[in-house]
Symmetry: C2
Subunit: 686 residues, 2 copies
């Protein structure tokens, strides 16, 4: 076949940095045949993509069936995520070594005079234009690999898929299913671990790794650049803990709820902190030529980026949650159409992510706080069917995304081409991770007066998972990043398999109570002396009490149909405004002098019957203290807080619980329904 | 800034058709700055993408809120899909005319000597390699548009998104929620409409449009090529009907169930037929130079493609459905973990699509039959919670996808750049669509003995929707395709707004019964004379009776836990095999001499109490006729069939019903539960 290419240059535009289009012209005479070939190639490529995705789907199917087998046989030494990784590893080995695809491609060289990489590239082949989109930068060493094995590259996903598709549902689910009672009870400790602890851990790991890197440089084991910022970046990404495995076992064994809350709260928040931290480390760019020296201004700017991105994402997430709550509060008739309600909830939560990304904030962080806001306000306005639907939907999405990430993780160990396994760096990393975790947990636990067995357990439960992996695979262009990625994979494997598998022995070794019914414990705390259980929580409760009063008296009545009417909580001068904002249902609540939260506790056990109206008595303005505490117990707002949050926990499925305990109490909507019914009849009577 | 580009040609490989890689080399000196610019550009592009998607999400949110308002006010003149289109139109107008983005890009010309368009393109800019992926072909006229308005192009989705992401859940939902009783009762008519009718309609429209095209050529109104195959292709794509709007109103008004089944069955199947038909028309390629002449061999080959693709997709869909049923049948303990069960169901259904695409069949068609198989077999093996979850999940996905497609449809009227609105073609198309529908409905209705008011209603309800749109937007490269796309949009708008809005007046004009309770009607049919209602269905039932017996006696027992035990239905010689394949639950059923399907009817009304064991008496082998019909009524297998399918309908939500009637009978799981409970106690007694 003869090709007569005529080069033609459309226009020699001056090289500017805003260019985003590029035309590539080439003419060949044999257009008809080429056409068919191109179409066939596109079809072939689509088929191949389908087949690759199918491999993953079948992998997930296999994982699910095996998980079932494990659950059925009550094996606790290997969690589903560990299992998914093993399957991923096996498939990776098969793809790497067992399948040999004959290399059927040839290189065609395009010589062209562009000086930047535009987002869109137009190539003119035989009079037909083909559009190409920028996929990303490729390191020089990878080019040979592309030619080596196209097939392995095919099963490699764009790392942005993890951030834009797989992480959001996982993080949203975490926020939406937070055990809020215990979370808020331990808010002080959790915030300390998540913010102070993660930053400390990041810097400890960074410094330690910098020492290792210097050592490696000394003995000539370093094959490329490795700067201090790279070390800090590594510190940030391996500081994100993911205790899915541990928490699943905690749930199954019903481990102490405070320990559960500490671990869960810490891991959820420190994902967000580590993510923002890593992006502000990347943003550290001193001026001048030497881009890796220390500079106070650049440092301050990075710190500003951290604060700005975190608070911006937080504000956006909360704002979208509040808007959703307001919509569901205003359009009450939406409750009759659960499908619309669920769709609205899903779309609003998704738009949080998109809005944050569009504004330059971090979508994943926004989604976390959106989830928490939705659970706290919107959830109360949803119809019971929508409550179930949204929970189940995000549970399913979380399950699929999580298992996909973990099996992909196993796969990449063999299919990723640029692994840099450096023994010194790996040993150093394991030590650094251990030290960083210790520096995070022990000093802060001492300050927060957490018992030593809890400290050891938290130390042990610092598993690394989805977030660490997603952060490390996001950029594997340089030598340093490749070494980090390979090492991170090993850290994840080790912690998930060894620490995850060792949870049960560790629990019994540390003599931590198992089989604790968190509701039971709640009622114990309201025993005759009323103080015994709150010794650990009093320290952090003070900072939350102000917030709680504000939330209960003003936000809940405005955003949900529960809580006291605003007319009761606002000062008398705001009367007209309050009447206008209060929903009719709130007045019904007022008629009974209790809100639905405390009412539920009424149905739960007879001992709390006397406290049916405590939540109203927490009112700081003193407008409604008609419901006086009975029995002479000093009932303070902490208990009301406890109960309110306990109520919320009832309705939310604990992360992963469904998998372990189908007889979880969230499965019994009956008390709630009977309560609702009772509420209706009572309002008819009154 | 100075750029010193050095052209370098890596290797001058011979031009082969298998090439899939291409290197494009160019060197510039200013690499550091370029790097940052590229990164910023990628970030900017990501932000823009997020913002675009956000527009759609907010559009959907707005649509949902307005739908709710319409439902609330009981407006029936405009359906949600019509509403979504209006919002899409408005946003399209705003994007097109109100927002002016300053064109900030320049063209850089790449001159290069390739003779084909590879799937991956590597561009070397300043020593860094950037990877580009092939997005698709662009028509010459579009190139200027790209330069004109990048922003409008940004809100344009890859047409393959419709086929690979949005259509599958819609079609699966259609299959999963098919009202199977009435569908099978009218199977003959539905198959006639779907296969014969769609082909007839396609050819009538194609011939008529070819006449129009010849006329246009005569008077010089044609601005490009328009071949007979293009006309036929147009005929195929506008023959796919989408009666979402009509059926939603039918549901609300409880229109005659047979009419509903005819319309729904026809529209679901003719989507599949039209899709395969259009791809086999594209596959029509006569040998030789003149590629648009008639040639018998090519025609036969196209026909072969049609049969092959359709039957292949059908077989694949059914096969995956059966495999899922077998898994859920074997791993019965999975019922304890509804999350795993739902995930498995979802993954298996998705893998049908991927498998079909990977094999070169049509994923959408495979998914339709997979949905029907899942509903018929797998659904019976799922736990009640998973039954709810899967229904709700696909209902939500269907709702979101459908509204997205319709609002996108409205948007493209203004944002698509290559509209070709030809008055003659448009008028011709409307006439042709009318004629084609008439040629589909009236002759076949005459053969199937369908009353004239039903015929007129079906004629009127031939709305065009998602499938027509997706097929027409798939390829808009040539002049002919652009004209088709523009005309198709208008046809969809017209039918959805005018025919959709006119459904209620049309129903009353044609004096079609409304307010018919389909269950009630079922029991009327088993009145004392027992024949009155089956006059319309007897014709088609004979071809289904053989299948029904086979399904009921062999497939249901093997694939589900309902149905009689195999030991009863297989000949005695197969005893050991039968015992091995029959589930213990089936024996329990046998002990009571009835299966769960007929048992439900027992609970439904007292008149049918006498027929509690009819389904076993349908056994063709005569092994179990112990349960004799009481009351002297000639009970034949048709009635059992009716009842079994009626039972299934109880459990499946009718497409769109949730939206309209929250008090739909599928909302009452109580009879089912009490039945289940009763079944258990009875087996304890026996």
């Amino acid at each position: 076949m003869q090709n007569k290419c005529k080069h033609r240059q459309l226009c020699a535009a001056p090289a500017r940095h805003e260019l985003s289009l590029c035309l590539c012209l080439c003419r060949a005479e044999d257009s008809a045949m080429e056409n068919i070939v191109t179409e066939k190639k596109a079809e072939e490529s689509h088929r191949q993509d389908s087949a690759d995705l199918l491999v993953f789907i079948l992998l997930l199917t296999l994982t699910i069936l095996t998980i079932w087998l494990f659950k059925h046989r009550r094996c606790r030494f290997l969690h589903e995520t560990g299992l998914a990784m093993i399957y991923g590893l096996l498939v990776g080995v098969v793809l790497r070594y067992a399948i040999h695809v004959p290399s059927d491609m040839n290189n065609v060289t395009l010589s062209c005079n562009v000086n930047a990489s535009p987002a869109t590239l137009l190539v003119n082949v035989s009079g037909k234009f083909y559009e190409y989109t920028l996929k990303g930068e490729i390191s020089g060493s990878e080019i040979n690999d592309i030619q080596d094995n196209e097939m392995l590259r095919k099963v490699t996903f764009d790392p942005e898929v993890f951030f834009n598709i797989l992480l959001p549902p996982i993080i949203f689910h975490a926020g939406y299913s937070l055990k809020r009672r215990h979370f808020f009870r331990n808010l002080g400790s959790i915030l300390a671990y998540a913010f102070v602890g993660t930053v400390v851990s990041c810097f400890i790991i960074g410094l330690f790794m910098y020492g290792c890197v210097l050592l490696m440089k000394q003995i000539g084991h370093l094959g490329g650049d490795f700067f201090f910022t790279d070390c800090l970046f590594f510190g940030a990404i391996v500081s994100a803990t993911d205790p899915v495995t541990v928490l699943a076992i905690f749930n199954e064994l019903q481990v102490d709820a405070d320990l559960y809350a500490l671990l869960f709260g810490e891991s959820v928040l420190n994902d967000a902190v580590a993510l923002v931290l890593s992006s502000s480390i990347v943003a550290y760019q001193p001026e001048g030529d030497n881009t890796h020296t220390f500079e106070a201004m650049a440092m301050l700017k990075s710190f500003g980026v951290f604060l700005g991105v975190f608070s911006g994402s937080f504000a956006l997430g909360v704002a979208t949650g509040v808007v959703t709550a307001l919509i569901s509060f205003t359009f009450t008739k939406l409750r009759e159409l659960p499908l619309l309600e669920t769709a609205l909830f899903f779309l609003m939560s998704w738009s949080t992510f998109l809005l944050a990304e569009a504004c330059g904030f971090t979508g994943v962080v926004a989604v976390l706080f959106c989830g928490m806001t939705q659970a706290h306000y919107t959830f109360n306005n949803l119809s019971p069917e929508s409550q179930d639907r949204t929970k189940q939907l995000f549970e399913l999405l979380n399950f699929l995304a999580e298992n996909f990430i973990f099996s992909y993780m196993g796969l990449t160990l063999f299919t990723f081409h640029n692994h840099v396994f450096n023994p010194i760096f790996i040993v150093g990393a394991f030590l650094a991770v251990f030290l960083g975790r210790a520096a995070n947990i022990y000093p802060l636990s001492f300050l927060n007066k957490i018992t030593s067995n809890f400290q050891h357990m938290m130390m042990f439960a610092g598993l690394r998972g989805a977030m660490t992996f997603a952060l490390s695979i996001r950029d594997t262009a340089t030598y340093a990043r490749q070494m980090m990625f390979s090492t991170t994979l090993l850290v994840v494997f080790f912690t998930v398999w060894i620490c995850g598998g060792g949870t049960t022995p560790m629990l019994s070794c540390q003599k931590i109570r198992v089989g604790v019914d968190s509701d039971q414990e709640n009622f114990v705390s309201i025993g005759p002396d009323g103080v015994e259980m709150r010794s650990t929580k009093q320290e952090s409760a003070w900072l939350f009490r102000i917030w709680y009063n504000f939330d209960h008296n003003y936000l809940k009545p405005i955003l949900t149909h529960s809580g006291p009417p605003l007319t009761a909580t606002l000062p008398a001068c705001c009367g007209p405004l309050a009447r206008c904002l209060t929903s009719p249902q709130a007045y019904e609540n007022e008629g009974q002098l209790k809100d639905s939260d405390s009412d539920l506790i009424l149905n739960d056990g007879d001992i709390s019957l006397a406290y049916g109206d405590i939540t109203v008595s927490t009112d700081a303005t003193g407008a409604h203290t008609s419901g006086t505490p009975v029995g002479g117990v000093a009932v303070n707002s902490d208990e009301a807080l406890d109960r309110e949050l306990a109520f919320s926990d009832h309705e939310l499925v604990i992360r992963g619980t469904r998998l372990v305990l189908p007889m979880d109490d969230s499965e019994h909507p009956l008390p709630l329904d009977s309560h609702r019914h009772k509420n209706e009849t009572m309002s008819l009577v009154s």
